[in-house]
Symmetry: C2
Subunit: 327 residues, 2 copies
């Protein structure tokens, strides 16, 4: 149980950039308990004026592409340039098994120990909808706590990229050097979400393959270009392991921010994200509301029995439940 004195204490701690308080606050917003949820809402309201002042960067790529190594190298460069960096992770896991190494601190050895970084591994459970809300709120907490760069890591499985793109200002896709026909393997939708495509592992034996992959993707991007867009996606190369090519990625991110802030795209994206987030929350809470409604609870079991037997269709079952909820 948290009282209002405790909430003020957390607000103060966060505004003082105390990382222990930040971690506590994240645990609070991750809780699914009703009273915790209310307190989380109060906390977020109080912190709202202190949020929004970061660059939110999405980072995606299939397992093995080197996301952790990249974040270690990229994050340390950002800190060198005077930033404070928070790393969060969205883990869609698998429908059946779950488990992940996203946001694993041991894989970002120097970064995780640095006083100007904060790494929060992905929560171990939860549906993507809930994950999205929690991550959005964690971003706000980290911003209020003085982090001006937020890196959000995810693994390349389709839906989670869309979620990350809806939470971030710029989206980086990491790919490995590979043959040309690999292009089809990476889903077109994800390439289209990407503001920067980064060919990692551009070193040693893979250097030539990396060059070829970069050219292939640059060509492919031609077809996706939209002249009306104020930013045209770029393909860059780096070797995160050897810490090579990172400064030009930093520069590209800076250019992206400058250009899109001037054109208004940056602000438009954020406000569209806020509206989409609102509708997502409305939808989730409406569902919660319906499921806990007493009239619905009374009839739901019988309806589900009939439905399971194939005596009524899902549509008709849905109609019956909605009627009893809305009347």
């Amino acid at each position: 149980m948290i009282n209002s004195g405790k909430i003020s204490e957390i607000v103060t701690g966060i505004l003082k950039n105390d990382r222990k308080t930040l971690a506590q606050a994240i645990t609070l917003i991750e809780s699914t308990r009703v009273d915790d949820r209310k307190n989380a809402d109060k906390l977020l309201s109080k912190l709202l004026p202190h949020t929004g002042n970061s660059i939110r960067i999405g980072i995606s790529g299939v397992p093995g592409v080197g996301k952790s190594t990249f974040i270690e190298s990229f994050g340390l460069r950002l800190i060198e340039s005077g930033h404070r960096v928070a790393v969060l992770a969205i883990d869609p896991s698998s429908p059946k098994t779950g488990g992940s190494i996203l946001g694993d601190k041991t894989r970002m050895e120097k970064l995780s120990k640095h006083k100007d970084s904060f790494i929060r591994p992905s929560p171990t459970q939860g549906k993507l909808g809930g994950v999205s809300r929690r991550t959005r709120e964690t971003i706000l907490l980290a911003e209020a706590s003085g982090f001006d760069i937020i890196l959000i890591e995810t693994v390349g499985v389709g839906q989670s990229e869309t979620t990350v793109a809806m939470l971030t200002d710029i989206f980086l896709l990491l790919i490995s050097p590979a043959g040309g026909d690999d292009l089809q393997g990476i889903k077109k939708g994800i390439v289209e979400l990407s503001d920067l495509i980064i060919v990692n592992k551009a070193d040693g034996d893979l250097l030539q393959a990396a060059n070829r992959t970069a050219v292939d993707y640059a060509n492919a991007l031609q077809f996706l270009r939209n002249e009306k867009d104020t930013w045209q996606p770029l393909v860059l190369k780096c070797s995160a392991l050897k810490d090579r090519g990172i400064p030009s990625i930093l520069k590209a991110v800076n250019n992206f921010c400058k250009q899109t802030q001037r054109s208004g795209l940056f602000q438009t994206r954020r406000s569209e994200q806020a509206v989409a987030a609102m509708w997502e929350e409305i939808s989730e809470r409406l569902n919660e509301n319906l499921r806990s409604n007493n009239k619905v609870k009374k009839i739901i079991n019988n309806i589900q029995v009939d439905l399971r037997k194939g005596m009524i269709s899902p549509s008709i079952a849905a109609n019956q439940i909605l009627k009893s909820f809305l009347n």
Copy 2:
């Protein structure tokens, strides 16, 4: 406008296996007009007793893996064995551009001309939620119209596979012969959804690679095995182009149905799908209801303005709208 006489006519036409009527009925359930929706519900209620008697087969794979060629070859064999085959497609398209060649009749030349087949290309628009509902209802129409095998094709991009798995009895994943490290590229979650993994293009130069890929996947599946499951996923090889290996896939599908019907898994999956479909429809219709609510319409614009300016958070905006809807 459709009157109740017209609905009876459609029912009769469908039960007589008239394919022109079936096509009309699908167009009706694809419509988003309110009166069409009501008529679609009436139609589906009347047809419900004539549905459910097919095997619903999901087929997925990345672009270029040979889905159309496979469906041509597989579909014709099914017809030879005395079945009537409907082919539907779920196309998640891309968030930005759209467009697809799924369910393209010209790519299934013989099958599309056969009197015992029916091919319906994917609708050109719509969100995945709506697509799922429309496809579910199209399956019912096709079943009522005497098709006892329904093939549902989708392209490998994560979310749409989950949708297809929720609509089908058995899920087939097509893969291409390739190097061992490709394993990571195909998302674990999708492999886990698969009841049969089929290495296509097992012919000519690719035969050896196909053998290797089959072994790799068979090994990988060991780790995903769940002793409690009554069906353990299989890896098979074929060449759809040369029409080789298709009979053993047919046999595996038959075995799957026999085993899972005996164990009850078949029926359990269907009833769980029905319940999930009901909740999906409830969620969609609740949202439609809220958006068309007069009290909500009055306040929504001002709230969105504040939200876009960052003056309120998505959570608070959602709360305000929900209050005015529910009170």
